[in-house]
């Protein structure tokens, strides 16, 4: 135990070329979260069931009354075909936000988990990347399961639907990064009401349940700046095999959100934890 020379195995990565990856130890936090989740498996199922419930109640139920609607590139689709991709996008958002706000707030303020981690060679960016990476793993499991359900229900129109999985991952990354950045500014549980204040309208007005064209002009403009709108448009175009150039914008918006969120989260984690 005492030979000091044996320590070299712990030689830490100094500044990696991609500062966004921290000291490259993010995966160890993901493993830690896996160990913890293994002993609390029930929480896992909720995230999967939520979009399925929405799909059946709104898509299938309401779809029986509504009939067909206009989808991407002006094609006509059934209502349930229209709503299902939006549920996939929205559940990617919700999962990432829950993980990055409630769970991280708890660890940050009460758990002292991060203090313990920063006493090792890990750096704040490892924490940001590790938490978001874990939330991505969970999200990918949910998205895949949901896409399988959609495929069984005949709601998928082509192979491009497979690309909806990375698209859902990107949505999770964007909202996870921004959610985590926001969480570092929160001081009490009451601040989470503010999160809901953003999330609920976004969920309702991002061309989730109706095509954008049914809104009045000003509301269309508002919807277009909603990140979830870009996520929904992206996933819908892919699932319905109707790609278009506007998807480049959708991806760019989500990538910009991810990078901005990560950078703010890194800086704020350092300010909060390294006092």
């Amino acid at each position: 135990m005492s030979a000091p020379s044996a320590v070299s195995v712990a030689a830490p990565a100094r500044l990696t070329p991609l500062a966004l990856l921290g000291a490259g130890r993010a995966h160890t936090l993901m493993f830690r979260n896996y160990l913890s989740a293994r002993s609390h498996p029930v929480v896992f199922f909720g995230g999967f069931l939520e979009p399925v419930f929405y799909l059946f109640s709104l898509g299938v139920g309401l779809g029986a009354l509504v009939g067909d609607v206009t989808g991407p590139n002006g094609v006509t689709v059934t209502y349930v075909e229209f709503v299902a991709p939006a549920m996939l996008a929205a559940s990617a958002m919700n999962g990432a936000i829950t993980e990055s706000t409630f769970n991280i707030f708890f660890k940050l303020r009460f758990g002292k988990l991060y203090d313990a981690m920063l006493a090792t060679p890990m750096v704040p960016m490892d924490i940001a990347v590790g938490e978001i990476g874990w939330s991505q793993v969970r999200g990918a499991a949910y998205s895949t399961a949901f896409l399988v359900v959609m495929a069984f229900m005949g709601l998928v129109r082509g192979w491009t639907a497979l690309l909806a999985l990375p698209a859902a991952g990107l949505i999770g990354l964007a909202f996870g990064a921004v959610g985590m950045a926001a969480t570092t500014f929160m001081t009490s549980w009451r601040d989470f009401d503010l999160v809901q204040l953003f999330v609920l309208p976004m969920f309702l007005f991002s061309a989730t349940f109706y095509p954008l064209e049914v809104y009045p002009g000003w509301l269309q403009a508002v919807a277009r700046v909603s990140p979830l709108y870009h996520g929904t448009a992206l996933v819908r175009g892919l699932v319905l095999a109707e790609p278009s150039w506007s998807m480049v914008t959708n991806v760019a918006v989500l990538v910009a959100m991810s990078v901005a969120g990560l950078l703010v989260a890194r800086r704020r984690l350092a300010t909060l934890l390294l006092t």
Binding site: M1, P4, A10, A116, T120, M122, L273, T275
Partner: protein, 327 residues
């Protein structure tokens, strides 16, 4: 124990053990508050060094800077020969940290806590697994290996925190109040473990409010007060330098105590170096306790009770600050 200057440490011959910690004018501000006020310390490799001080003296603030998790406001600091600002991760990979408040992972078991900590340090899994059994035995937690951390007693949690700090076989272990809040038996078990580490040549840097702990463990210590170092030396040296070998405690009962302490002082007894008046007793630094007691008797200052004992670091602290270390 000789002190090494910062330049000596930087140019030291590699064969000579390098100073574990060198600080010059180390300062920490929190807004307007000065938590650490320009301290100089030298901790040699292999030494056990203690910060002794009352609540709020700045011990934790100093330790956190050394642990490279708190930016230095001013001054120079080298830890294991490296610069905390530039080489934080490299320093931390050779440190073991036992924080003032346990921050074990409550969602994991005892064994998993050690495993993930080794992974945070970037150690390969087979190596960690081999070390875990050794560490569990060291911390006397082998039969608790698969329990949730939440179910451990305070003393067990503390031992696990220490075991966790050793998973990377550190050269320097920082222990912030390792035994505060533990019962006497648990404290002795911990002291045992720390003595064992010492004998393996690990450098230990600890903080404490307990003078018996400092006396037991430390080769050398500094007394901190309001962010400054007010005395430095080995426990024996400090006692010899600042107080008489023996002290006499006299109690006159709470009503009479202040007046009696004043009267005692007014006597100006030749063998008495100093008198510290406390609410319920006076501590008399005297070179001849019996002569002092006889004198009190002659002047009709008869204490309700008295006690002659060896001087402790507590007396040094009281002498230097006029306050008690622990209430």
């Amino acid at each position: 124990m000789s002190t090494t200057s910062a330049t000596d440490a930087a140019t030291a011959d590699p064969a000579v053990p390098m100073a574990a910690v060198v600080a010059r004018g180390l300062t920490k501000h929190f807004g307007d508050l000065v938590a650490v006020d320009g301290i100089d310390i030298d901790v040699a490799a292999g030494e056990t060094f203690a910060f002794l001080g009352a609540n709020g003296a700045g011990k934790t603030s100093a330790m956190r800077m050394i642990a490279t998790v708190s930016p230095v406001t001013a001054g120079d600091l080298r830890v294991l020969g490296m610069d905390p600002t530039a080489d934080g991760p490299a320093i931390r990979s050779r440190l073991g940290v036992v924080p003032q408040e346990d921050n074990l992972d409550l969602e994991l078991t005892v064994r998993e806590n050690l495993l993930v900590y080794g992974l945070y340090h970037g150690l390969p899994r087979p190596l960690i697994r081999a070390r875990i059994d050794e560490l569990l035995a060291f911390a006397q937690l082998t039969d608790k290996a698969d329990n949730e951390v939440e179910s451990l007693s305070g003393g067990m949690k503390r031992r696990l925190t220490i075991a966790r700090a050793l998973v990377n076989e550190p050269d320097l272990v920082l222990l912030d109040e390792p035994t505060t809040g533990l019962d006497p038996q648990a404290r002795h078990v911990l002291w045992d473990r720390l003595h064992e580490l010492r004998s393996r040549g690990v450098t230990l840097l600890l903080t404490t409010h307990y003078m018996d702990e400092a006396e037991q463990l430390a080769d050398r210590l500094v007394i901190m007060d309001h962010g400054r170092i007010i005395a430095e030396g080995s426990p024996r040296e400090l006692i010899e330098r600042h107080v008489t070998r023996e002290v006499l405690e006299v109690r006159f009962g709470s009503g009479r105590q202040p007046a009696a302490t004043d009267a005692l002082l007014a006597l100006g007894l030749p063998e008495v170096d100093a008198v510290e008046g406390l609410a319920e007793r006076a501590i008399v630094h005297t070179r001849d306790a019996q002569a002092t007691l006889d004198a009190l008797d002659r002047h009709d200052l008869r204490p309700r009770g008295h006690l002659t004992r060896r001087a402790t670091l507590e007396d040094v602290f009281l002498r230097l600050t006029g306050r008690q270390l622990v209430d």
